[in-house]
């Protein structure tokens, strides 16, 4: 299983980099990050990455669906999915391979922002702990967005539809804890727990709690599971 997933992962990574998707997407990601980061760094006058960790979840809302939108829908559109699923591999190995490839791409993009951390560490009093936990949070957050994007990509042949649907789902999950004041208390704590941003802010604050980790892992598992089911759907229609 791990073997097949690794083969698919390698293939997707090659496609990302050969077709220049990776370079374009990473460049735009870094440009936007850089602009947001440095535009108030000197105003705030603090050697803190907090600002960056606040803005990246928003950039991810566009960045991650852009990475995932073609992963399965393009295979469906071009018909290559028929070759793929008639190879002697299980459907979840295909999904897992694509997920890992996306994760590596996101990790590369995020790691490149370490340049900011290195810069800051030279110019001020710098809290390494919160930076590490911030990056851990970003990876979890990105992985959760990825699984949503892969799921929506497995539903359609159309990349644009996949992009928009995953954006809407991610946006809804992100905004859940921003609308709590309009909700009854009982529902509010429940919705808060479902929100991706709530758990992200927990982790990026420097506390890696098992509750937040479990939340992300189960979210990732849930959407990847749905993606596998969507891929298997062809068998039962």
């Amino acid at each position: 299983m791990a073997n097949h997933a690794a083969v698919f992962c390698r293939k997707e990574l090659r496609t990302f980099f050969d077709s220049h998707i990776a370079y374009i997407v990473i460049t735009i990601f870094l440009l936007i990050c850089g602009w947001f980061f440095f535009s108030d760094l000197f105003l705030v006058n603090q050697a803190s990455m907090r600002n960056l960790f606040n803005i990246i979840p928003f950039i991810f809302m566009f960045f991650v669906p852009a990475v995932t939108m073609r992963l399965i829908s393009e295979e469906k559109r071009s018909g290559t999915i028929e070759v793929l699923v008639t190879l002697p591999v299980r459907d979840h190995e295909i999904i897992l391979g694509k997920f890992l490839a996306g994760l590596i791409l996101i990790a590369v993009a995020v790691i490149l922002t370490l340049v900011y951390a290195i810069t800051l560490s030279g110019i001020g009093d710098f809290d390494f702990g919160s930076v590490v936990s911030g990056y851990v949070g970003l990876i979890f957050l990105g992985a959760a967005y990825l699984s949503i994007g892969i799921f929506t990509s497995s539903l359609t042949q159309n990349q644009i539809v996949a992009f928009i649907t995953s954006f809407v789902i991610i946006f809804a999950l992100f905004m859940l804890d921003k609308v709590l004041m309009f909700m009854p208390t009982l529902l509010a704590s429940f919705l808060e727990y479902l929100s991706v941003s709530y758990h992200f802010s927990n982790i990026s604050r420097g506390v890696i709690d098992s509750r937040d980790v479990i939340y992300y892992l189960s979210l990732i598992f849930f959407f990847l599971f749905l993606a596998v089911r969507a891929l298997e759907n062809r068998k039962w229609r």
Partner: protein, 310 residues
Amino acid sequence: MIQIKNLTKRFGELKAVDDVSFDVHTGEILGFLGPNGAGKTTTVRIITCYMLPTSGWVQVDGLSVFEHSLEVRRKIGYLPENAPLYSEMIVSDYLRFVMSVRGIAKERCSQRMKEITDVCGLGSVIHRNIGELSKGFRQRVGLAQAMVHDPEVLILDEPTSGLDPNQIAEIRGLIKELGKEKTVVLCTHILPEVEATCGRVLIINEGQIVADGSPAELQSSFQGKEQIYLELKTPSGDVEGKLANLENVESVEQIESDGNDLKKYTIECVKGVDLREKLFRLAVENSWVLLEMRREQASLEDVFRQLTTS
């Protein structure tokens, strides 16, 4: 090698495949014919484990597509319709990708790659992007992909579409060669292709099998009249009447006459009767000059048309 029993596949109300049963044996090239939407592709997709049937079962080499899907897929090489490929990949990378998914050991890969590029004639494009290739080369890359693991069963959905006549002849030769030891299922619309390559023909229409047999068998069982084409050189006279008066003749039709003495007829007669001897004697009696006489056989195309139109 492939056994199919009572296979039914429904898409909602539509029965794409309706209670189909047949076997394909090792060393057989099966031509799988049918008009568009007859259920060919659906049947093939079930054999290749792309879909599961609504009811009935399929076994490949004794293994069921339900319980041993992975083993079944290992034994099969499949070229889907239109040879879908990753257009952004390089041919050799693509084949290497399929090989590693198929679990072909690294040290065997390069040797196998050489063999397959030779067999499929991919030498000149092996380092090109698939997206830049012509339809013919794409088709051959698809074929290479299907044969890369030297499968026991080869299922090809319209493998020669988009190829030029030379390439078609090459691919047909290749399929024939493979068919000696392997099991080949060839889906196609191109009837001469079936006549040239397949030992057995299966015609499917509206989800049901309407004919099964060798091309020769199908032609002889064709429900039709025997036809004889006759070309005579004769001065005027009641040729048509004399011909029609012969025993067993059902109709005589003059096709064309150039105004001179040349006359062409098609004569329909009762099935199973050979009229040629009588026609010859009649011509001698009347001293007609016999220029041409031949028995018209029902072509596979006639058989196909009759069975698939209602």
